[in-house]
Symmetry: C2
Subunit: 247 residues, 2 copies
């Protein structure tokens, strides 16, 4: 029997131009492609003629179990994950599910361009200094812990990257996050918001902590919010956090 394998593939922001060669190769060489429907659709051009299992959000555990069992049956599996599979992606769950089996299949994690990196590139250079990445989704994390992390990051002047700014369609999570950060940072602090970063339907907003209330309703699950540190500024529509080089 041929030995199977699961490749957890980061497809980056979604356009093929941001796919790495290794990710492309793993998809092309796979026997079966498994993923959340949106991400599978993003690699349509690479998977013609292959077996495809595209499922809905919320079916993460099922996708991982399927990937593991297909690999155990000898197939080369490409499990597609948005952005970088190692950052809030499928890498962890797949390793957990694989670790429960014996013998566990071979697993390769193939990194991709993160949502944070793609959004930062669109905005300018907001992540030139220390930053904290926080998901506002309270589906799997108690809100109290999310608040504690927001406070800590705000107090210590980290640039703050917010994933899942609208969890379960709730826009109040981001409004509450804003209130917490405002206790430690000026209202004039730059805030950059990018929707569908690196994709053709990309949108962006140039705002501040004070004024961002005006775009709260437009922010969705595909958006990423970056709040500057005390030295971040907007210059000609570019969000820049200086690293500190003397110029």
């Amino acid at each position: 029997m041929p030995s199977g394998k699961v490749s957890v593939v980061g497809n980056g922001p979604g356009e093929p131009e941001h796919l790495t060669s290794r990710a492309r190769e793993a998809i092309e060489q796979s026997d079966i492609v498994i993923g959340y429907k949106l991400y599978v659709d993003q690699v349509t051009g690479l998977i013609e003629g292959k077996e495809v299992v595209a499922s809905a959000m919320g079916k993460e555990v099922e996708r991982c179990r399927r990937a593991v069992s297909e690999a155990q049956a000898g197939k080369k599996v490409a499990l597609i994950s948005g952005g970088d599979p190692g950052i809030y992606g499928m890498a962890g769950l797949l390793l957990q599910v694989a670790g429960e089996t014996d013998p566990a299949p071979e697993v390769e994690i193939i990194p991709g361009v993160t949502a944070a990196g793609a959004a930062a590139a669109v905005l300018g250079a907001p992540l030139m200094h220390d930053f904290a990445v926080i998901s506002l989704s309270d589906l799997l994390t108690p809100w109290k812990l999310i608040e504690k992390r927001l406070r800590a990051a705000a107090e210590a002047d980290f640039v703050i990257v917010l994933y899942n700014p609208r969890s379960r369609g709730r826009s109040d999570l981001l409004a509450r996050a804003r209130e917490i950060v405002l206790k430690h940072r000026q209202g004039s602090t730059p805030v950059g918001i990018v929707r569908a970063a690196g994709r053709k339907d990309q949108n962006q907003w140039e705002t501040t902590l004070e004024e961002m209330t005006g775009c709260l309703e437009e922010i969705d699950m595909a958006s990423l919010v970056i709040i500057g540190n005390s030295r971040t500024y907007w210059d000609n529509h570019r969000m820049i956090t200086p690293r500190g080089y003397p110029l």
Copy 2:
């Protein structure tokens, strides 16, 4: 006169297989390639016959000025940055230098696979939950601020990613960071260290906060240190931070 442009290109961890299509294209279409020597050497295969300006570490400002002036003279410039140019990379400095000129040249930031993402993929899945990214380099940042951020990140149970764990050859910075984190986290907390992540000469260490003192001397500028949160564990040599899915 043809209109010039600077593409700030993320070359990822260093092997061509982790380069994105967009990054490869920008390098191939450039008239001149500028970068820190190590990063330029990593893309040797793509730059044959091109004008190349490879310079030493510490020459960052000069490289950006050169890139801007070449673009103003009408050339397509590829400014190579390690990992993702937007994360402690060249994107910010280039935008600052370009912003001082009039008219400023066109600038495109092309994201790449980050050092953190590459290291995480090697270790398993340590970045499945909120994380803080901190550089231990005190060349441009006061050590007091670095300490404050380490304390905040440790207290709020962030996974902690340490860039530049050995600044100016000093191994005591990492030892001091470890002491700070140990005040808020168990000695048994998993620590993963990766040197030259995603490259052929890659090395990795599986350790804990308590035991990592044993490898402090082997850690260098090309290493990245990831300290788990209170729920991170090692399982069959994979570092996993659970996201919290019920299994």
